[in-house]
């Protein structure tokens, strides 16, 4: 039998997952946008600009873009799921959960795990779809199975960090509109400076500094190492894992521990 707090977490996780599965538009749009970018941006830049960077194999920008779009999917799905906190709060459902014999952190943990699961599943689904699209060539330099394992690990670590970060923001911002504004303001620069859309190796020094202090860069690098690159990536697998391994529990714990307004 599962202990009380774990059972509560599981119940909230299942409830939020079920809500996303019932919301077909949310489910499809979160996958259609990266696929559309892959088709339009990937093919457009590959054919129109013919990129010559050594980090983009054979000028095939579409294949290079896969890792970045997986990170983008995890990023937006995870943070969008975190916004369900506001929906539950504004509809009164959060108060009903708070009237149960569990502290706020258990309720938030359940909701955050749901956000992590939703973000990760959608990102992994994108990887699965991308890997069977003709013309996209993934390298899997460490082998397909270890590569998939590494990619899943990168996605999970990224989703946990983003969820914790989103919960931290949610504890400070009272409205869902404000939350989305702040998250977009913060996440778009982080995404663009992560190596998701262009190789970090070719950036000028001052931009490299921003990329180096950007946690998302390490997840994108890990994804590139797992599925696309044929070398050590930008930072290297060890550095990626150390940085993400330290940041993930720290940011997630801070997010769950932050006191959120319940009304």
């Amino acid at each position: 039998m599962i202990a009380g707090p774990l059972l509560a977490c599981q119940a909230i996780l299942v409830r939020d997952l079920r809500a996303v599965l019932r919301s077909r538009s949310q489910l499809y749009s979160s996958l259609l946008l990266p696929l559309m970018l892959l088709a339009v941006l990937g093919v457009g830049i590959s054919e129109g600009l013919e990129p010559s960077s050594s980090s983009i194999r054979d000028g095939d920008y579409t294949s290079f873009l896969v890792a970045g779009l997986i990170a983008m999917t995890a990023l937006f799905s995870s943070t969008f799921s975190s916004a369900s906190y506001y929906q539950d709060r504004d509809s009164g459902q959060l108060r009903a959960m708070m009237a149960s014999p569990h502290p706020q952190q258990i309720i938030l943990l359940g909701k955050s795990l749901a956000g992590v699961a939703i973000g990760s599943l959608q990102a992994i689904a994108l990887l699965a779809i991308a890997s069977v699209i003709p013309g996209i060539e993934l390298e899997w330099q460490h082998g397909v199975v270890p590569g998939i394992g590494l990619a899943v690990l990168a996605v999970l670590l990224l989703a946990f960090i983003l969820n914790g970060f989103a919960q931290l923001v949610a504890s400070r911002i009272r409205t869902m509109q404000g939350f989305h504004l702040v998250m977009n303001l913060l996440l778009f620069p982080l995404l663009f400076l992560s190596g998701a859309f262009f190789p970090l190796a070719d950036l000028p020094g001052w931009l490299k500094v921003f990329a180096t202090v950007n946690p998302i860069s390490y997840a994108v690098d890990l994804l590139q190492i797992a599925a696309y690159a044929d070398g050590d990536g930008h930072f290297g697998i060890v550095i990626d894992l150390i940085v993400l391994g330290i940041l993930t529990p720290t940011v997630f714990a801070l997010g769950i521990g932050a006191k959120h307004p319940i009304e």
Partner: protein, 316 residues
């Protein structure tokens, strides 16, 4: 948590002593003291904003008082104690996309209920509130009365010893209101203490064993409804008309008149005897009167008499 370990029963189910509580810029409770007997149906009667909901949230341990003490089921309210308390909020807190069964199963899990026993309790709860045939329907398809019954079933699912109700029948039609109270009386007969915050006088008068009048964050009177009404003038009257200030002053000075409130075009007052008062009123100001309604003095009159304003907040 499935069946909370039998705690020692206390004679007092909930108690607040000299409690204060403030929101950012508003004092909600101002030295409130109250005692609720175990096993009773207790009515908190007061207008909106008087502090009833805040008091319920303090009993549930969702907030802590700024000063004073709160004791519930013999303990200081805590997260763990909520396993023994049910709470039905004023506004619906149901997920419209979940089915009726999912709502109950989810709530049961939050209270540690799993397995065959939980499923049995869930089926019993559905049957008790007559929602068995709607078990697989989405909440959004239910009527207001059905949703309220579902919220009650949800609150009772983990077998609480104390149920906190905030405006339990707000927005319900008379038949639904009757069904809700029938269900609540059944649970009360099983030993559950019920504290219901309401601004419906008839509800408190008809169903509560004891009532407290809440005004400006304080309890201004407390007792059984007959006790609260016992000191009143016998009859209550609503007189419709257009009275001058002089006429109102004259009526107020009559010795048989108790409490009086004038909010044009309605004059609400209590008198010793309507049979002698009404002819006297017509003699003094008959031309101003357009209608008279007489009733036996009610809890609303008692509230009006004690507080000096009605439950809608109008001043005397």
């Amino acid at each position: 948590m499935q069946s909370p370990a039998a705690p020692p029963r206390t004679a007092v189910a909930a108690e607040a002593v000299d409690v204060t509580f403030s929101y950012e810029n508003r004092q909600a409770l101002n030295g409130l003291s109250l005692s609720v007997a175990a096993g009773s149906i207790f009515g908190l009667l007061g207008p909106n904003g008087s502090g009833k909901t805040t008091l319920l949230s303090l009993f549930a341990g969702l907030r802590a008082p700024d000063s004073g003490s709160v004791t519930v089921l013999g303990e200081t309210p805590s997260t763990g104690l909520r396993a023994r308390i049910g709470f039905v909020f004023q506004e619906s807190t149901l997920d419209p996309l979940m089915t009726v069964r999912e709502v109950l199963a989810f709530h049961g899990k939050l209270f540690g209920m799993t397995g065959a026993r939980a499923r049995q309790r869930l089926d019993e709860a559905l049957e008790t509130v007559a929602l068995t045939d709607r078990a697989n329907d989405a909440v959004r398809t239910l009527s207001g009365g059905m949703r309220r019954r579902l919220e009650l079933a949800r609150a009772f699912l983990p077998s609480p010893e104390l149920l906190l109700l905030d405006e339990p029948t707000a927005g319900l039609d008379p038949d639904s209101e009757k069904a809700v109270w029938a269900y609540l009386h059944e649970r009360n007969e099983e030993g559950v203490t019920i504290i219901a915050a309401t601004n419906k006088v008839s509800e408190a008068d008809r169903h509560a064993d004891a009532v407290a009048f809440v005004h400006d964050g304080r309890i201004v009177a407390q007792g059984a409804p007959p006790e609260l009404k016992s000191g009143l003038k016998h009859d209550g009257l609503f007189v419709e008309g257009e009275f001058s200030d002089d006429e109102i002053s004259e009526i107020k000075a009559w010795p048989e008149v108790g409490a009086l409130r004038w909010s044009s075009p309605l004059l609400h007052l209590t008198v010793d005897s309507a049979a002698t008062f009404v002819p006297k009123l017509f003699q003094a100001a008959g031309a101003s009167v357009s209608a008279v309604r007489v009733h036996e003095a009610s809890l609303e009159d008692a509230y009006f008499d004690v507080v000096g304003s009605g439950l809608d907040g109008d001043e005397r």
